[in-house]
């Protein structure tokens, strides 16, 4: 099945921003182990990683870091 028409939809699919019909088509291809869609999604994930890089990272303050570490220590994992 030709999936070239999907090739510019992968980023939106990863963001959950494609229509249901288009999302279903992509998922259908992936269930068939479509190598084009798998490769396209991998490239799209990298493209999103590039597009989402901020011009200005915001460093953690000591209190933000401490708060996270506290929550980390308090967070129990579900039993295996």
């Amino acid at each position: 099945m030709d999936c070239r028409y999907l090739e510019n939809s992968y980023e939106l699919f990863l963001l959950g921003a494609v229509g249901e019909t288009e999302a279903a088509r992509i998922q259908e291809h992936l269930k068939m182990d479509c190598p084009n869609c798998a490769r396209g999604l991998r490239e799209a994930a990298l493209a999103l990683f590039a597009l989402l890089q901020p011009a200005k990272p915001i460093m953690s303050t000591p209190s933000q870091r401490a708060h996270f570490l506290q929550r980390l220590k308090e967070t129990q994992r579900p039993a295996e």
């Binding site: 510019n8 990863l14 490239e43 994930a45 990298l46 990683f49 901020p54 980390l72 579900p78």
Partner: protein
């Protein structure tokens, strides 16, 4: 302090130096043997970038799965600043953005990293790509809610299968200045629409409504912009990879 390659000056200008950023940020692995390399050897060919200092890439999945809080803290230290910068573009309130950020890392922690490494995905998949995409999805949902927009149906069963590997994200970050310059060549109209989709959480149809343009035109702009981005990435990263 571990810094993201992009560092903004107080004047808002971005500065990037590969010479400064890459060695400070990444460990370099010149082969299976972790020998101490001489500087001449390092400069003779591009090194394979395997990950940021502070995160033992090869061991991260195992260490996180083994309940090592230090590994998770290292992951947070490395990626929280750029993630926070991204999330705050969608959720300007710092406290709300921080909740999204913390919950994302804790979600990874609770399941021992299985969402990235153990669900049929690549065992060498990059956690940072997962973090950025999932953070954008979460922040996008909240952004939409704040704007009174309906939540999107967001099927995502198999993200791990499509995550890039750390050497790819590392390579991308090491070339971020070039990539950013290339992305700046996007036509203004396309960039504007892409920003609406990425940072306002709009669908193409909603972007069309916001801009009072026909949906087909907006759709074409979005697809053209994404195609442009992928082609530029392929060129900039492909050329580099060929030298490795």
């Amino acid at each position: 302090m571990i810094l993201h390659p992009f560092q903004a000056s107080s004047a808002g200008q971005t500065h990037f130096s590969l010479a400064q950023a890459a060695p400070a940020k990444y460990k370099q692995d010149l082969g299976s043997t972790r020998r101490k390399t001489h500087s001449k050897e390092k400069s003779a060919r591009p090194a394979r970038i395997v990950g940021p200092i502070g995160v033992e890439r090869a061991e991260s999945p195992a260490r996180i799965a083994a309940n090592e809080t230090a590994a998770m803290a290292a992951l947070f230290d490395q990626w929280a600043p750029p993630l926070r910068g991204m999330i705050q573009r969608l959720i300007p309130a710092p406290d709300e953005a921080e909740v999204v950020l913390e919950n994302l890392f804790l979600r990874l922690w609770k399941n021992g990293g299985r969402e990235i490494w153990n669900e049929g995905g690549d065992p060498e998949a990059s956690p940072e790509a997962w973090l950025f995409i999932m953070a954008r999805r979460e922040a996008g949902s909240l952004r939409r809610k704040a704007l009174g927009r309906a939540s999107l149906r967001m099927p995502m069963d198999s993200l791990p299968q499509w995550l890039p590997q750390p050497h790819e994200t590392g390579l991308l970050l090491s070339r971020l200045d070039l990539i950013t310059r290339a992305l700046a060549q996007l036509p203004k109209a396309q960039r504007q629409i892409l920003d609406l989709v990425l940072y306002e959480g709009l669908t193409e149809i909603e972007a069309a409504e916001a801009l009072k343009e026909p949906p087909g035109k907006i759709r074409d702009h979005v697809r053209a912009a994404l195609s442009f981005v992928r082609q530029r990435l392929h060129t900039l990263m492909g050329t580099w990879t060929a030298d490795i």
